[in-house]
């Protein structure tokens, strides 16, 4: 995983609640056995016209001003539904590395951090202010500073955000979760022996 560095990027806006992972990446694209190449299918059913190729000009992310956005500001309960990690793979492959919303579905939230996407939680008033700021002018850029847990915006709607220190550390260092866990392999083996004695039927 790449290290997450402080950056200034265009913020795109999706003012919809309960955006589900079926919309983020529709099922017809889940048949691949690779992790890459999902960006072109992100929000497929909303993003493209019925021909499945040309852009639907009414879809918010197709606005020219959002073209190079790395930050996605979205409505409540983003990423609900299916556990498919293809959703964050598509989001990252499209170019986003940060999402800002009032809440995320649990599995999606976990999946983001495994794929270098910083999912920031704000309160409703903060989200409203950010949405208004994006709507007020073209191509608004936010500075996202994970180290200092801060977002700054041109109109002064910046804020500090909370994040699990373990997730933060991993994002900043680009660490592999599995590698970290396997450092404790002796503890896992020790636990497993005890577990086997306590619940022998699990191994019968």
């Amino acid at each position: 995983m790449d290290q997450y560095k402080k950056h200034e990027s265009v913020a795109a806006l999706m003012n919809r609640s309960n955006v589900d992972t079926d919309q983020i990446i529709p099922k017809q694209f889940l048949k691949k056995v690779e992790r890459s190449g999902f960006g072109v299918h992100l929000f497929h059913d909303w993003r493209y016209n019925d021909d499945g190729v040309t852009n639907n000009p009414d879809f918010e992310l197709n606005k020219p001003a959002f073209k190079d956005a790395k930050v996605l500001v979205a409505g409540d309960n983003f990423g609900c539904g299916s556990s498919r990690e293809h959703a964050p793979w598509a989001i990252a492959d499209y170019g986003f590395n940060t999402i800002i919303s009032t809440s995320y579905a649990d599995i999606f939230y976990n999946n983001c951090f495994k794929n270098g996407i910083l999912a920031i939680v704000v309160d409703e008033a903060q989200l409203d202010a950010l949405m208004q700021e994006i709507n007020a002018s073209e191509g608004v850029s936010f500075v996202v500073d994970l180290e200092n847990q801060a977002v700054t915006t041109p109109a002064g709607n910046g804020f500090n955000f909370e994040i699990d220190p373990f997730r933060k550390e991993n994002m900043l260092k680009g660490l592999d979760d599995i590698g970290l866990t396997l450092k404790h392999i002796d503890k896992i083996s020790e636990f497993e022996e005890k577990h086997k004695q306590q619940f022998p039927w699990l191994w019968a």
């Binding site: 099922k27 048949k31 809440s103 995320y104 649990d106 495994k114 373990f166 503890k187 896992i188 306590q198």
Partner: protein, 466 residues
């Protein structure tokens, strides 16, 4: 200190916590299907890590499998490759796979209980959000992403923060023709799709205790639709009777040991939950969703709500969008909504009792003109049992298609799908836009409601039937 069942299971699976890091939780059972696992195996190969406990894994093929002409090769080359990749990965790592030719094949959350692979007190994961189904056995079962699938295969653990707990208490008795599915939908109607976020739900109360194991699986299955990663029910005599004698259930002396342990898992009297929700089953009528989120649900004797009936701005906007997508006018009676398609099946409602309920309703009827109705058993075992009971004949005589098992139209990955604008009465779990096919409109219902709608061509208030 009084403890909930969740806390007891959590503590018995806590391995280690490094300062500043998340606790490591041990995983007993890992379930797999073809869609969310290939990239995890690829990750293991690249990092040269072996599968730590192959015996903890049970795999099936369900999402992409055709439900007709199973003897022919899968027409879609990408789906075929995914199926072949699953077979290769299981072969290479010595994993137990119920492949397409196996008599044990079917939808993962249907086949696993059939073999008694999940017991009370276990921690169970699967790269699938409906893993919560197995909480019906008093296990902590939750969906994970593909990176986590790889993590569990490599280490048999997951870094996990402890969840909050929510008690959903369903008192009273269900009315005639009301089922576990109606309880599940009514709960989501109360909590909303984000109400359970960050929580593990324990379902309790007279109406939950009265459910069969299959009914409990239906309720737990839809915990994720309330936003909770896991839902669970305390194990009782029904749980033990269901498991006894199954292939992976404890045997002999170990059965007695296991039983003692399982009985100790129930939530201590007086243990506190972070949130409590109470419903009365007598208030629950047959449920139908009208929108594009499972929380957009009403009783069948109700009407499609108007956007202005919602105080919350977000819900009002969501209602407007849903009515447009669903092509419904506010204040339409639910029983006036005509349908084109009926689907009975899925990990929510693809078990034998579901087909008994539906057949009971379909018996002696004919599918209404212009309606297509398909019955897709959750597994070959369900299919064979249904055929033994003559249920397939009831469906076929009534004009239904009787299919081979698979996830089928629940998520429409295998070619079974709605056409643009078609409206479906479906026993599955999600009515999201495009879930059953681009432009398809889904109404979630119980199997009995689906069968009644098939015959009438529109929704029917089955609570008024004898």
């Amino acid at each position: 200190m009084k403890k909930t069942m969740y806390e007891k299971i959590w503590e018995s699976h806590f391995v280690h916590q490094e300062p500043g890091q998340a606790p490591l939780l041990y995983v007993d059972r890992h379930l797999m299907h073809e869609v969310t696992s290939p990239q995890a195996f690829e990750g293991l190969r690249i990092s040269k890590r072996p599968v730590r406990n192959p015996h903890s894994i049970l795999a099936t093929m369900d999402h992409c499998v055709p439900t007709k002409n199973r003897d022919l090769p899968i027409a879609d080359p990408i789906a075929r490759k995914q199926i072949e990749t699953m077979a290769d990965n299981c072969e290479e790592n010595g994993l137990n796979l119920y492949d397409m030719e196996s008599p044990d094949n079917g939808v993962i959350h249907v086949v696993v209980p059939e073999h008694g692979f999940v017991h009370p007190g276990m921690v169970v994961v699967c790269g699938d959000s409906h893993t919560a189904t197995h909480g019906a056995f008093g296990a902590l079962a939750f969906g994970i992403g593909t990176s986590e699938v790889e993590h569990v295969m490599a280490s048999q653990t997951l870094p996990q923060q402890k969840s909050k707990t929510m008690l959903v208490q369903v008192d009273g008795q269900l009315s005639k023709h009301c089922t576990a599915k109606d309880i599940a939908l009514a709960i989501v109607g109360v909590t909303g799709t984000a109400g359970g976020t960050g929580h593990v739900i324990e379902y309790a109360g007279e109406a939950i205790e009265a459910l069969s194991m299959e009914g409990r699986m239906t309720v737990c299955n839809m915990a994720i639709e309330a936003g909770a990663r896991a839902g669970m029910v305390a194990p009782d005599q029904k749980t033990f009777d269901f498991l006894e004698g199954k292939e992976f259930a404890p045997k002999g002396e170990q059965w007695g040991q296991a039983l003692t342990y399982w009985k100790s898992l129930v939530t201590d009297e007086g243990a506190e939950f972070d949130a409590v929700i109470t419903l009365n089953a007598t208030d629950i009528s047959p449920q139908v969703t009208w929108g594009t989120s499972p929380e957009q649900v009403v009783g069948v004797n109700d009407i499609v709500p108007a956007p202005e009936s919602f105080e919350n701005k977000g819900k009002r906007i969501a209602c407007e969008g849903a009515l447009k997508y669903m092509d419904l006018a506010a204040n339409t009676k639910m029983t006036d909504i005509a349908i084109d398609y009926v689907f009975i099946g899925s990990c929510t409602n693809g078990r034998i009792e579901d087909f008994r309920d539906a057949a009971n309703m379909a018996k002696g009827t004919q599918v209404a003109e212009g309606v297509t109705a398909i019955a897709v058993p959750g597994s070959f075992h369900v299919k064979i049992q249904a055929e033994k009971e003559g249920l397939d004949k009831i469906f076929k005589d009534a004009g239904w298609e009787w299919r081979e098992p698979g996830c089928s139209m629940c998520l429409a990955m295998n070619g079974d799908e709605l056409k643009d604008g078609q409206r479906c009465a479906s026993t599955s779990n999600r009515n999201f836009e495009g879930r059953q096919g681009k432009g398809g409109r889904t109404h979630l219902v119980s199997p009995a409601m689906a069968a009644a709608a098939a015959a009438a061509g529109h929704f029917v208030d089955i609570s008024k039937l004898g």
